[in-house]
Amino acid sequence: MKAFEEEKTRVDDIDRTIYDVKDKVDAAFTVDSGLTPEIVNQISVEKKDPEWMRLFRQKSLRTYNEMPLPGWGPSLDGLDMDHIVTYVRPKTGMSSKWEQVPKDIKNTFERLGIPQAERLSLAGVGAQYDSEVVYHNVRAEVEAQGVVYTDMESALHGPYAEMIRKHFMKLVPPSDHKFAALHGAVWSGGSFVYVPEGVKLTIPLQSYFRLNAPGAGQFEHTLIIVEKNAYLHFIEGCSAPRYNVANLHAGCVELFVGENARLRYSTIENWSKNMYNLNTKRALVEKGGAIEWVSGSFGSNTSCLYPMSVLKGEGARTEFTGITFAGKGQTLDNGSKVIHAAPNTSSRISTKSISKDGGTCIYRSSVVITPEAAHSKSSVSCESLMLDSESRSDTIPVMDIQNDESDVGHEAKIGRISDTAIFYLMTRGLSEDDARSIIVSGFAEPIAKELPMEYAVEMNNLIKLEMSGSIG
């Protein structure tokens, strides 16, 4: 029984003690809490924005101030934008050597096992501490292939400046929704990745985000361009220590997938339980290209996250695989959006959710098949597991089909662990807890095996749910 004990799935809360270590807030520079043109301008000055970016921020701020909050979804009453410090930058510049990162910040990452993870199997790590990228490193051989992996600020001033300008917030315009506008005004930090034509990266790139200052917002921007016939696997992990003041994460991810290129974008999100995670992620896929989203959502107080795939080119495809685990006090409203805008495109959405101890999981999705997207296929399957009656689980999918040459299938199931299944496993000697665990991990297994767990040492700490496949 011992080996099983060690690896067993607990249907417990995720142990976050190691993430809840708070560092002393010792920031070099903090702007006022509210949001005015002056503050936004101050950000521009501080970051030495090019003129177009300065104007872009101001325009986004106007959009932000004009736009109402969304009329759907979870309550955002706990958020008070007027009291959120939007920009906190730790006392350090960029560093490409781990040794040069300040000790307290380094300690935090060491505790989370980031450099180890890099040493083990990562091609590159970008760690963002509050609003600035403090550490960036790409293995030499990856660089030699012409792959660019750098922070957004450097990219904005370097040889790729024009490429950034051409793509920045073109896929997610600030007018998309209020938090996209906010992002446009105050974004800072994030990663830029460029994979040239034909380059297939065999090892994944990873970035790591972490919020430390209480009440700080994180507005990182991730821009990835994968050229024709190229391949990239990008892993994003998020975590933050717990504070009493509401934290806001309104990042933005824009992915451009070229012809016959493939991008796999994996996210392990474990923000602390006071986080409002209102992130916007979108991918534009050209002819024959593919975007694969893998998403594990465990943290946050409130999450609204619906990675969107725009299948622009003929034969483009998308897969979304997601798991959400909501415990006490959490409302995790997750899902996916797909727009089929060209013929022969295909999408597959497969999600699982687990609600426990009063947590709420909401699956929300939209699949749109435009009149142009003849012979397209879409299949959606979502399964929800309720572990008790204090919890909630809602499924809100919408399909909009505008031609008759497409096939759309949808399946949703909601339920609990069956008593007979538990009894059956117990007749083979398993305790009730182990039986429940085995069923929950079995439930999550098809999704869990898609998570890039081998790569992030941290994952095992993030999820006490044992999904490593040792019993799968």
Binding site: M1, K2, A3, F4, S418, D419, T420, A421, F423, Y424, L425, M426, T427, R428, G429, L430, S431, E432, D434, A435, I438, I439, S441, G442, F443, A444, E445, P446, S470, I471, G472
Partner: protein, 251 residues
């Protein structure tokens, strides 16, 4: 010397507010093979479930003693660890756990120690071959998408791997074709030894072929109305259960 392995005394079992078994007595000694027969709805499966401790079946009266310990109020897994095995009529499908890994996990749960992997694999492969189960099934999710026959073979495989002191086989032959019944009864014969006991719940004499049956019990309306030797099987086949229901034979 054989000893009393299972002793069921004056058992009354109810589901919700309905009494299903009443005043039931049954003793099984180690090394014995018992057959339980009876018409549909008599409570045969209930007895198996009650011995295994299914939470839906309430024991209102009486006791179940196994290997000298009163297990009337024990949880199902404790009973399994003590050496009772129940093969299900409709084995549950459990997605996400491969059959092979599940066997390893449950072997460890029952024996309390981790099996040596290579030895375990060899043993499992051998048994799968003898039960005519494709090796590929070891990596398939437990019972998911198995046909009726495959599910029953998977139950027999689990029984052989867990090697319980008492195996209760609930209608293991139902819904099987002739060939599958042969394989299953071969598995049962393989299991049978001086140390192991069997309680076979069945309608079908076929599965008992080649098996030395010590006792046959007839369960009618929630209680055992008649117990006899293996010749009783033939008698039931000829006369049917009505004969016993009418009280045609007395103990």
């Amino acid at each position: 010397m054989s000893h009393e392995l299972l002793k069921v005394e004056n058992l009354q079992v109810g589901v919700e507010d309905k009494v299903i078994l009443d005043k039931l007595n049954l003793t099984i000694r180690s090394g014995e093979t018992h057959v339980l027969m009876g018409p549909n709805g008599a409570g045969k499966s209930t007895l198996g479930n009650a011995i295994m401790g299914h939470p839906q079946y309430n024991i209102c009266q009486g006791s179940i003693v196994f290997d000298g310990d009163d297990i009337t109020n024990e949880s199902t897994d404790v009973r399994a660890k003590k050496g009772i095995f129940l093969s299900f009529q409709n084995p549950e499908e459990v997605p996400g756990i491969a059959l092979g890994n599940f066997l390893r996990v449950s072997r460890e749960a029952v024996t309390g120690e981790a099996p040596r992997i290579l030895k375990f694999q060899k043993e499992m492969r051998g048994l799968m071959d003898s039960l005519e189960i494709d090796q590929e099934y070891a990596s398939r999710y437990l019972n998911v998408g198995f046909s009726g026959g495959e599910k029953k073979k998977s139950e027999i495989l689990q029984m052989l791997m867990l090697n319980p002191k008492l195996a209760i086989l609930d209608e293991t032959d139902s819904g099987l074709d002739v060939d599958a019944v042969k394989v299953v009864s071969k598995g049962i014969r393989q299991f049978r030894s001086d140390k192991n006991s069997l309680l076979i719940i069945t309608h079908n004499a076929k599965i008992l072929e080649g098996l030395k049956v010590d006792y046959v019990h007839v369960l009618v309306n929630g209680t055992i109305v008649h117990t006899g030797g293996s010749s009783l099987i033939q008698e039931i086949n000829e006369k049917g259960f009505q004969f016993f229901e009418a009280g045609g034979v007395r103990n």
